[in-house]
């Protein structure tokens, strides 16, 4: 067959999605709780760290990257790296001008 049909289709069980939701909700409440701890300088770093973990879980399971073609994983990592380089270059400019 020459066409790329769903030849390697991976069907995720319902309970996997349920479990992922529970994990994501738990991380959300941890983030909200952390704010009340008054960790000052660390709070933003922790909030962003947890958000990144949540985003990775959404990409891997809900957006099916874990089970999809390697091409998509490489592209997503490339785009994230591109964006991180934007941030680093912009701050290198702002902080040292």
């Amino acid at each position: 067959m020459s066409n790329h049909k769903a030849e390697h289709q991976h069907i995720t069980d319902y309970w996997v999605y349920g479990l992922i939701l529970v994990i994501l909700l738990a991380l959300t409440f941890i983030t909200v709780y952390m704010v009340h701890l008054e960790l000052a300088a660390w709070s933003v770093a922790i909030a962003l760290g947890i958000a990144s973990v949540k985003a990775t879980i959404v990409l891997a399971y809900f957006m099916h990257l874990k089970f999809d073609n390697m091409l998509f994983k490489i592209l997503v990592v490339a785009v994230v790296m591109l964006f991180v380089s934007f941030i680093l270059l912009t701050f290198a400019d702002y902080l040292y001008r």
Partner: protein, 205 residues
């Protein structure tokens, strides 16, 4: 007439369809990425003013909307499992449930923004213009970023309704469901952006 049926080769490329969707998602991520960059720089310059601005936001409503979006992301993901297992009815119900959750999100947003306008907290209002420069920028970014995100929620609802009708007339079915997968990807993108918007706008205090 020959009785040999001519079998037409179906033109279909699921991998290509998904690649197209991902490329579109990347443009969306970089669109919001630019706004996050603006946010990051101004937050660095006006940390104190951003803190004061964020204190005005309703963390409870923000948290509630986060929960609603996360649940809706799960329901749309489950609708794909349902159609892949040939359960058309369940798949349609799950897509409809996702649209309903999107409505809940918008109703929450209505009350949240409504309260802000009632308290004269909107870009260019007499009250906001008296704030310090960083707080004016904070409210500008708050309304623009959540507004642009809300616009994506509305588009996502239209996309999901199209998916619902295509499930109904079996254009999307057990063997051909890449369209629903792509529609689902768009909805997860809306969730993905909110995952970063929520802590950065509501919890930077």
């Amino acid at each position: 007439m020959s009785d040999v049926a001519i079998k037409h080769d179906e033109h279909r490329d699921d991998l290509g369809a998904k690649l197209g969707m991902w490329l579109f998602i990347f443009t969306e991520l970089l669109l919001f990425g630019g706004l996050f960059l603006v946010y990051a720089v101004y937050r660095d310059i006006y940390a104190e003013d951003f803190h004061l601005g964020a204190l005005q936001l309703n963390v409870t409503l923000g948290t509630l909307n986060t929960v609603v979006l996360l649940i809706s992301s799960m329901t749309v993901a489950m609708s794909i499992t349902a159609i892949q297992r040939g359960n058309k009815k369940l798949s349609m119900q799950l897509v409809l449930l996702t649209v309903l959750l999107a409505c809940v999100f918008l109703v929450n947003k209505y009350f949240e923004w409504g309260a802000k306008f009632e308290h004269d907290l909107y870009p260019g209002s007499d009250l906001v213009l008296q704030f310090k420069r960083g707080s004016i920028i904070f409210f500008g970014l708050y309304f623009f970023m959540t507004g642009l995100h809300m616009f994506h929620v509305v588009i996502g609802m239209v996309v999901l309704m199209v998916m619902w009708f295509k499930l109904k007339n079996t254009t999307i079915n057990k063997d051909d469901n890449v369209l629903l997968e792509n529609g689902g990807l768009y909805w997860h993108l809306v969730d993905l952006i909110w995952i970063f918007l929520f802590p950065l706008l509501y919890l930077v205090t």
